[in-house]
Symmetry: C2
């Protein structure tokens, strides 16, 4: 399951003592041969130390290992935090027998506190000793913070497999740019053979649009990171379109799991936008409606209030022609040509579900 479903990957998770609860808090993912790698990162003006370091290490388009700790975000920690991230990377390289440049690092947890690097060092030794082809579940467990459970997804196509896991429950409203995502963490692996350029294109065109369409609380974290690694351990070449489809499908699966289990969430709002000028306009309108506090309270209260949908869509920063704007709830029309209708019973019923 998870990131070890594709061939060529091993993983582990361990409790290094970074969380007061004593729960697992250190995950390690390694690839047997150097993997092609691409990523996307938070656009917050205060990126966490591991974000800066991982962006730099990704410039080669290659990676051997990913180290992830939960408990502390290593954000808002200044130069000392950058030193800590570097020390963790070097300790991982030593424990795993690879170059430090080939290690990617992610952190998630409280912003501000330093990471206990000594504990990470011991934890890395323990994790290195327990790496296995069945370690994906332990890895996915170790990266959690306030999540209720791990988010896991897999897909396969002609000759190759894709696996992934994600964490994230609060401070979620990513506006990622490729090579630059947080505290959404998403890891996708595949055993397809892929160049770094192909992975970057898939991240840009297929992965980022999925995650940037997600909002929990409107707050983009300092740590958001999405990484995609391709081991090439599958036999034969993968069709590029099939690979892109499979990676997007895994991300969509993870995104649905993440929103369903977000901090305090009782319902999930899915907004389908048709006929927008372009995908970005559609994304903005969707996120504006799903992220509106007034729409959320209306949905929570089971009261279809189409005026709030109108307000939110009109406030998305996108040019909208009122006469051409229509909306429906659960298939029942509630706004027609910019005119708010009396919501039919079906609209109210649509709000009763999860």
């Amino acid at each position: 399951v998870s990131v070890t479903y594709p061939r060529g990957f091993r993983a582990a998770g361990t409790a290094a003592g970074l969380k007061e609860s004593g729960r697992p808090d250190l995950g390690v993912l390694v690839v047997d041969e150097t993997a092609a790698a691409a990523g996307a990162f938070t656009t917050n003006a205060f990126p966490a130390a591991p974000v800066s370091l991982t962006k730099a290490h990704l410039s080669t388009g290659r990676a051997r290992a990913v180290v992830v700790n939960s408990g502390q975000a290593n954000a808002g920690t200044g130069d000392a935090g950058l030193d800590d991230a570097n020390e963790i990377v070097e300790a991982a390289a030593a424990a795993l027998g690879c170059n430090a440049d080939d290690v990617l690092v992610c952190s998630t947890g409280v912003i501000g506190p330093r990471i206990a690097v000594g504990r990470v060092r011991s934890g890395l030794d323990a994790a290195a000793a327990s790496l296995s082809e069945d370690g994906g579940a332990a890895f996915a467990e170790a990266i959690l913070t306030t999540d209720l459970r791990p988010k896991l997804a897999t897909a396969e196509s002609d000759g190759f497999r894709v696996g992934g896991c994600a964490k994230g429950a609060g401070m979620i409203a990513p506006r990622l740019v490729p090579h630059g995502l947080a505290t959404l963490l998403t890891f996708v692996t595949t055993d397809a053979a892929a160049t770094p350029e192909l992975l970057r294109r898939i991240v840009s065109e297929r992965v980022v649009p999925v995650w940037n369409g997600v909002t929990v609380d409107g707050c983009q974290s300092t740590n958001d990171t999405v990484l995609v690694l391709a081991s090439g351990a599958a036999e034969g070449p993968a069709d590029e379109a099939d690979l892109a489809d499979a990676i997007e499908a895994v991300c969509r699966d993870l995104a649905r799991q993440l929103t369903a289990e977000a901090e305090g969430a009782t319902k999930t709002i899915v907004v389908q936008v048709d006929g927008a000028a372009d995908d970005e306009a559609a994304r903005r309108i969707g996120v504006a409606v799903a992220g509106s506090d007034l729409v959320k309270t209306a949905v929570f209260g089971g009261d279809p209030n189409p005026g709030r949908i109108l307000q939110a869509a009109g406030d998305a920063g996108v040019a909208v022609h009122p006469r051409r704007f229509h909306a429906s709830l659960g298939g029942a029309p509630v706004i027609q040509g910019g005119v708010v209708l009396e919501p039919p019973a079906a609209a109210k019923q649509a709000l009763e579900g999860p």
Copy 2:
């Protein structure tokens, strides 16, 4: 008090039957001689019918009357809503004996339902008969929706007076542009003599920045309107800077009242931003921090969580240099050079107040 504190204005408020509660819901403000007038309006893509009509009528820079109803927003009502707004304006012109072009109209309330124009017509006759120089309080009462009480403010300077009232408790996060604001309604009057051009400059440079720095729930209404009217009934000329200062002071006073009494509010967050590149950058950072759900929950819970301030400031869409970013809570430093500090006791105490 309120909009009738300056000389040359009369006002009234009445219950026209638009609110199910039977509370006052129709306010009329008239100026004895034609007033210079300027305004600012919502930038929501679905402006309410009265917003469109008032913008058109303001093009002359002159006005004789303002008609405001609460109960229905006349937004999301399409062409029929525009017809209703026009009918109200014409009925007001007839009842008050002025040109329809000189009547400005505002609505606030539920989005979607049509206004009962027949009731407005009867209400206008009653209001016209009760107009008085002491009517400002009744006017301010009639424009309320979920507000706990009217927001009133006055100022005076050498030879002139300024008065104002506002309403707004929810769906408040204006991003007004001059000549184009919502369901914030603000009315400012002065008996200073002023040209429409001067009023427009004051609206643009002094009034809009105050209101665009306010957020309750992050949702910009379809109806936000700010109007400033100058009767010229004071003796002698007013100093332009003094007039601008007095109008800004009245708006600040109203804005503090509005945020303190916002829907469900138990605390007010005031963010002071120093050293930003420009006023707009400062405004964006301030609104991003004050409007963050994670900062709001931290403040509500009395837990100074500087990491959330860092996250929000970094997510304002403004270039920020982490090393030059400092923050304090109640005077106690909590972020220094981008590094989150252990919050001192004073920071926690600062969250205990209102």
